[in-house]
Structures are given as structure tokens and as C-alpha cells.
């Protein structure tokens, strides 16, 4: 019929699990035109990866295609045998995976892995293949290709591994390239570099491509057309300009309004949910800050195994090199930086989880840095600084019910209150974070990601802290859940007056939440100031490059002109 490169029609897939047969895809249809870049966007469980794996015949054994077609090059690839599929895969269509490091064979030089693919599909003398490998690396703008070709994945950075992954996928000049969350887990600046390379490479070759991502903003920047998926179905399929100007499906609309870069005020994020109290008038900050740190330093030994049981710690890695900051009561401060910039180490020193090498930590003007972390755990001041952790699943003890999880810090830090008050406190904390009381007897594995995040926040709020340190509390959540949690945090701050230190890699999120922003780079604070100023008029080069790298949704007025 059409001149589509890939035409998927009515694709249905189901999984056999312990709890019976679960449909993963329900009648998915879409097309990719030659040279087009299609974005498949959806939250976890939407079936976007399953779609890709079905087309490539890479579904795991428990999955089964129950219906539909995927026409590629005039043939239905869903009905091809393994042998025929193997001729296509890597040669006509290929894929770039998430987690670039684990997607490569850890004990084979990366050049040899690319050579394996070329030798499989276009047999040639070794010298010719080697030249093609080097050429593939050069096209990914990899410097010193000869040296990189003989490197192992563990010797390369994540971004470099992903460039290798793309080089490998393009090595035999396929007509269709699928990228499955290719930059998830990479830093924003790396993400921008990898995505630019990816786009340039597919454009230059006229390769049709599919970008699978959870990030609507990322898809909007690179794709021509976007397919939105929800629970195994395609709910919207439209060109980029149209989807942002006139989203038709309610789910797309909701997804758009959940994306932090789509709005300027936290109140506008999914306005129909989680109402936020109006900001109280800012009290003049006269009293001492809740928390002040001065000249905090921490370095780690890059320990190598020594000859016997001692270690030679000659080299040390400076994680935090002399940082000072102050947080006023009720204030929200954002701490932004990429992985390895020292923001986690800094937040843990502030929380008194690790001991700084140097520097002072003052809580309400009282120095607490001389109290060893192990002892601080049992001091009355402990409850003043609480923390919310990154991964909601990992931050809950699998053997504690929701009630136990919230009650435990109360029992430890406010021991003389009795059981009646304890229950009251737990229920109040649960109510504060919008957790139904019926969930209190449940265990973590019976909760959704958003519910777990709420439990983590309730646990921290139950002891009525003055400062809440939030370590990337939403980075493991889907964007629609993230929006709700962000609003919840804002409401808590405005109602309870708890100061917040929000640690994140995402400037867009921090901008909505915080009064002030600190940007960290290589263990130093390189820029700080009011949120609007840092975001709109960055002073430091690093901040500028960070801002430039962040994918942003086109504003509706721009979208119309795209």
C-alpha cells in the first residue's frame, strides 16, 4: 500500500507471568517513512520497548505475539524464522539499547565487536573490515579511533560506549534504526552530544529511525513525528508541531502538563491535581539560618589493592572542595549538578550521614560537625534534619509495613510519646502526603512507585523536621507521578514551613520548586542566586552549557511555527 519503511498494524503481544496472562500491547499501529525520525513516547509499562523488541524478534521467551503485522521491506517480520530475521538484523534494521555499558560485551574490545557485525553481514578480508570499523568510529566523531577500537567497555565513559553502540548499529548501513532510551542514565550534556550525533548520523544516511523515550521534551527536539503510548495502546500519532499545539487525547494533554519545562509556575503543573496552597508572604529573614555550612571538604582515597593488606592511598578524589551555604527557615534551595559533581556527598554531609574532612555544619547556629555521624543518629537534633531518598523502592525496608516505616523514626527520635500519640503522628503524616490510611498495613511491594515516594516523604515529615534534604526524589518516577510529587513537596513547604534542600540534576524541576539555586561542578559551587536569575541569566559558562543541553518542550506559540 504505502511507501512506508516499516508499517506496524494491529500488533498485540502478551506476557505469561505468575499471575496469569498479561497483555502488553493491544492493537498497536504506526508507520515509519524512509528517512523519518519517529518518537515513541510513553511512561513505564506503556509497551514502547516491547513494540521495538517485537519488530526485531527479540522478545523474551515469556512473551508471545498474538496478532498483527510488521511489514518491513515487503515482508512481515513477525512471521520470519530466526534465520531470515538474522539476515535482516544488524544489516537492514538495527537497534541501540539503553545502558550502553552493559549492552556491550565486557571482555571483548569494542572494535572487535563492531567487526563481528560487519564480518557477519558483509564478509571481507580482515584489513578491509578493520578499515570499516575505524570509519564507523570516525563517523561518530570518536577521536583516536585506532586506540578506541582496542579498548574494552569498562575503559570508556557511558557516553563513549553509547557512541560505540550507535556506530555498531550503523556499521552495515541499515535502513531502519531503533533507539531504545539511548540516553537514559547519561548526564544532560552527554545526552545532548549523543543525541546530536545520532540525529546527524541518521539524517546523513537517510535512515528511518524510531526514538523510544519517556521524555516528551527530548522527543520534541529530535523527532519529526510522535506516537504517544499508554498501557499498550497508541493514543495519539501526530507531527511534532501539531502534538504540542493541539494535543487531542486527554493522556497526551496530561503528559504535556506534567512536563516541568512546559510551565513557568509550579501551580500550572497538572493544575487539576494536588492543589497547592498559595505562597505565604515571605517573612523577612532576620533570625539565624536553619542550617549553615562553611568550607565543607571531603575527599575519597582512590584505593588500589596494595601488596599485602594495607592499601596505597596516594591518589585522592576531591568530591567536595570547600562549599558553604545557608538555608533560611521555610526556604527552598536547589542544588544542581551532573553525576560526580559532589552534590550527593555534600547532601550527605549536611545530613550528618558522613563526616566531612574539614568545615563546619551549624544547625540553628549550633555546631554539630564534631559529633560523629554514628552518635548523631541518637541525638535530639537528629530529627531536625530529615532526608528523602532517590529510589523510592530501595529506600523502604521490604520487611516494614507502611505504618512501621513511618513510625520507626518517631519511635527512635521521640521515644516518650506513647502508642496513641505515635499512631496519631503516623496518620497525620500519611494524611499530609495524601496517603490513604488504608495503605498503612501494606508492604512496599504492594505499593506503586508514587505511593512509595509518598511513604518516603511521610517518614521524613513525621518527626517534624526543620530541614528536609531531598536527594533526587523524583528521578526514578514517571513524569506524571513526578509532577504530583513536586506539587506535594511545595504544598508541604508552604503549609508546614519546612525548609527544603532539593538536590537534582534537572534544572527545569529545580526552577519550579526553589527560591534559590546553587550549581555544582567538580566539587565546587560555580554559581548561586535566585532561581529566575540563574535560569534566565546564567553567569557561569557551565550553567549556560547545562541550560543549553536540557531538552525543552516547544512553547505553544513556537510550536505553531515549527
Amino acid at each position: 500500500m504505502s511507501d512506508a519503511l516499516l508499517s506496524v498494524r494491529d500488533l498485540s503481544v502478551e506476557f505469561r507471568t505468575r499471575s496469569g496472562i498479561v497483555p502488553a500491547l493491544r492493537g498497536v499501529s504506526f508507520e515509519v517513512a524512509p528517512g523519518e525520525m519517529l518518537g515513541i513516547v510513553g511512561e513505564s509499562g506503556s509497551g514502547k520497548s516491547v513494540t521495538a523488541y517485537s519488530v526485531l524478534g527479540l522478545l523474551e521467551a515469556s512473551a508471545r505475539v498474538t496478532g498483527g503485522q510488521a511489514i518491513f521491506g515487503g515482508r512481515d517480520v513477525l512471521r520470519l524464522g530466526q534465520a531470515a530475521l538474522n539476515e535482516l538484523r544488524g544489516a537492514e534494521m538495527s537497534i541501540v539499547f539503553q545502558n550502553p555499558r552493559t549492552a556491550l560485551n565486557p571482555i571483548r574490545p569494542v572494535g572487535a565487536q563492531i567487526a563481528d557485525v560487519i564480518a557477519r553481514h558483509d564478509p571481507a578480508p580482515p584489513a578491509v573490515i578493520r578499515e570499516r570499523v575505524l570509519e564507523a568510529l570516525r563517523q561518530m566523531r570518536i577521536a583516536e579511533p585506532e586506540r578506541r577500537a582496542s579498548a574494552y567497555p569498562f575503559e570508556l565513559s557511558g557516553g563513549m560506549c553509547q557512541r560505540i553502540g550507535i556506530a555498531m548499529a550503523l556499521a552495515c548501513a541499515p535502513r531502519l534504526l531503533i533507539a531504545d532510551e539511548p540516553t537514559t542514565g547519561l548526564d544532560v550534556t552527554t545526552q545532548a552530544a549523543v543525541m546530536d550525533l545520532f540525529r546527524d548520523a541518521v539524517r546523513a544516511r537517510g535512515v528511518g529511525s524510531i526514538l523510544i523515550t519517556h521524555d516528551l521534551a527530548l522527543a520534541s527536539q529530535y523527532c519529526d513525528r510522535i506516537v504517544v503510548m499508554q498501557t499498550g495502546k497508541v493514543v495519539e500519532d501526530a507531527p511534532v508541531s501539531e502534538i504540542f499545539a493541539r494535543p487531542r487525547h486527554p493522556y497526551t494533554q496530561r503528559l504535556l502538563r506534567s512536563t516541568p519545562s512546559s510551565v513557568d509556575r509550579i501551580e500550572d503543573l497538572v493544575p487539576e491535581e494536588e492543589p497547592v496552597a498559595p505562597a505565604p508572604p515571605r517573612a523577612p529573614t532576620s533570625g539565624p539560618p536553619v542550617l549553615e555550612v562553611r568550607g565543607l571538604r571531603k575527599s575519597y582515597a582512590l584505593s588500589r589493592p596494595g601488596l599485602f593488606w594495607w592499601r596505597r592511598n596516594t591518589e585522592r578524589l576531591q568530591a567536595v572542595g570547600g562549599v558553604g551555604l545557608a538555608i533560611q527557615p521555610g526556604e527552598a534551595v536547589g542544588l544542581v549538578g551532573e553525576s560526580g559533581c559532589g552534590k550527593s556527598t555534600l547532601s550527605r554531609m549536611i545530613c550528618r550521614l558522613i563526616q566531612p574532612d574539614e568545615g563546619e555544619v551549624l544547625l540553628d547556629g549550633e555546631p554539630i560537625h564534631r559529633i560523629a555521624p554514628g552518635r548523631f543518629a541518637r541525638m535530639p537534633q537528629r530529627r531536625q534534619i530529615q532526608m528523602v531518598f532517590q529510589d523510592p523502592t530501595e529506600s523502604l525496608n521490604p520487611r516494614f509495613s507502611v505504618f512501621d516505616a513511618i513510625a520507626d523514626p518517631v519511635k527512635q527520635l521521640m521515644p516518650r510519646e506513647g502508642t496513641a500519640l505515635l499512631r496519631q503522628r503516623v496518620e497525620r503524616a500519611a494524611a499530609q502526603v495524601g496517603l490513604p490510611l488504608a495503605l498503612l498495613p501494606r508492604y512496599p511491594h504492594q505499593l506503586s512507585g508514587g505511593q512509595k515516594a509518598r511513604v518516603g516523604i511521610a517518614r521524613a515529615m513525621a518527626v517534624e523536621p526543620r530541614l528536609l534534604v531531598l536527594d533526587e526524589p523524583t528521578s526514578a518516577l514517571d513524569v506524571s507521578v513526578q509532577a504530583v510529587v513536586l506539587k506535594l513537596l511545595t504544598r508541604l513547604r508552604r503549609q508546614e514551613g519546612v525548609a527544603q534542600l532539593f538536590v537534582s540534576h534537572d534544572l527545569n524541576v529545580v526552577r519550579l520548586l526553589c527560591d534559590r539555586i546553587l550549581v555544582m561542578h567538580k566539587g565546587q559551587v560555580v554559581e548561586s542566586g535566585p532561581a529566575e536569575q540563574v535560569f534566565n541569566n546564567p553567569a557561569h559558562d557551565y550553567t549556560r552549557s547545562l541550560l543549553a543541553a536540557i531538552p525543552r518542550l516547544p512553547m505553544p506559540q513556537e510550536a505553531g511555527t515549527l
Binding site: R18, W309, R348, C351, L353, P373, G374, A377, R378, R382, R383, I385, Q386, M387, F389, Q390, D391, E394, S395, L396, N397, P398, R399, D408, P409, Q412, L413, G456, R459, A460, V463
Partner: protein, 281 residues
Amino acid sequence: MREKLSLLRYVLAGNPVTLLALVMLAVLLGCAVLGPSLVPYDPIATNTSVALQAPSAAHWFGTDQLGRDVFSRVVVAARLDLSIAFAAVLLSMAIGSVLGAAMGYFRGWLDTAASRATDVLMAFPLFVLAMAMVAALGNSVSSVVYATAVINLPFYIRLARAETSIRRDMGYIEAARVGGSGHARILRVFLLPNILPSLVVQASVNLGWAVLNTAGLSFIGLGVRAPTPEWGIMVAEGAQFIVSGRWWIAAFPGAALMLAVFCFNLLGDGLRDIVDPRSRT
């Protein structure tokens, strides 16, 4: 609770072998508890007039060179063999898991020193080490228990250390510290209960090894001594009659030994399925 029961039912339905192991375990424990009051003959009473008789209706498993009833001895021996194994495994699990968890949680000098000691212990073939220890501690049942406990210790230390290392930097441990728990409480309330399931799987497998080890020691004349009915001794006594075709003296205690170890191993596999369905092998 109901969910756990249904999971148990699911696992047992999908894995009848585990069910079989549970039944075998029940039989073994039955022999251990009730054996001495059930058996038809006194297990140590000699009666040379019926020596070396092949299995018959009167003597199901035949008689040995002193005319003792092999069946009675095999059944009665279950108590001693299983007691030694359980005592040794409990001992090494208790010490090893606490030590290993502390090593994984605190790291530092304790970890370094204890890891080195474990390495040294593991450098000896474990059976040889047990042999030397029983010889050094004296030929008694308690020596066998201690020796078996010591050679099992490294497994618990390593397992508990590894499992703790995975968890020590997880959010819920940091959350516990922020929530006012000291190190001791974190170990006791947050870490040990979470690593317990894997330790129990290890214990089940180790029970099998402990039985093997005990029998092996008494087979070479260490630890439990004749005329006490014990599977290893009985196999040793029967060994000399194998070449003349009187298989039953060694074969029945040997089979009992095999069944016991087999049962514990199957049980370990079954438990592993319940504890960690992903590692199903």
C-alpha cells in the same frame, strides 16, 4: 500471610520435587524423634548366632558381623547424625551471619582481618581441616560439632558479608540512620532480617554437607565411635564385607545417608525458589 501461603502452594505445585523433599524430611525427623521407640531390635545388642544374614522378613536390612539388626541401627542413627548436623549448622550460622554482616556493614579493619582469617581457613581442604580439628579436640561428638561448625563458617561469613554489602548503601539503611537508629539497631532490625532468607537457603544446603562430613569423619574412625549406631561407622564396618558380596551392611546406612543429604539439597533448591524466584536454576 495468606499471600505467602499461596506462594508456597504455587511453588510446590510447580515443583513437586520440593514436596517430595518435605515428605522425606518429615520421615527423617520422625526417625530421629521416635526411632528408638519404634525399632524392632536393640540397635547395639549383639547376637552372633544371626551374624551376617541377608535381608529377610525378620531382619529387613539384614544383620551385621555381630548379628545386630541393620534396620534398627539405621533408623536409630538418624537422631545422632541429624542432631550433629543441626547443632553444627545453627552454631556456624549464628556466628557466621552476625560476623559477616558486621564485616559487610562496618568494613575497615574488622573486615580485613576476618576476611584474611577466612581465606586461611579456606586454604585447607575443608574435610582435612575437620579431620585435624577432631583429632586435636579429642574424639567426641562435641568435637565433631565444633569441627563441622568451623568448616561451614566461611560460607556464612562470605554470604552474610556479600548480602550486607549490597544493602548497606541502599536508601532504607540511610533512612534508618537519619531516623535515629544506631549501628547495632541497623544491623539487628534492618540488615539481619533482610539477609536471613538467603542464609536459610545456605543452611539447608549446609545441613546436607554437615551430615556428609559427620559420616565421613566417623567412616575414617574419628568422632563418633563404635558401637554407637551412626551411618558413617556402619558403612565403614560394612566396607570390608563388600568384596565378599555382603552388600547390605554398608548399602543401607549408605542409602540413608544419601537420602538425608539429597533431601536437604532439594529443600535448599526449593527454598531458593521461594526466596529468590529469579535465580531459579
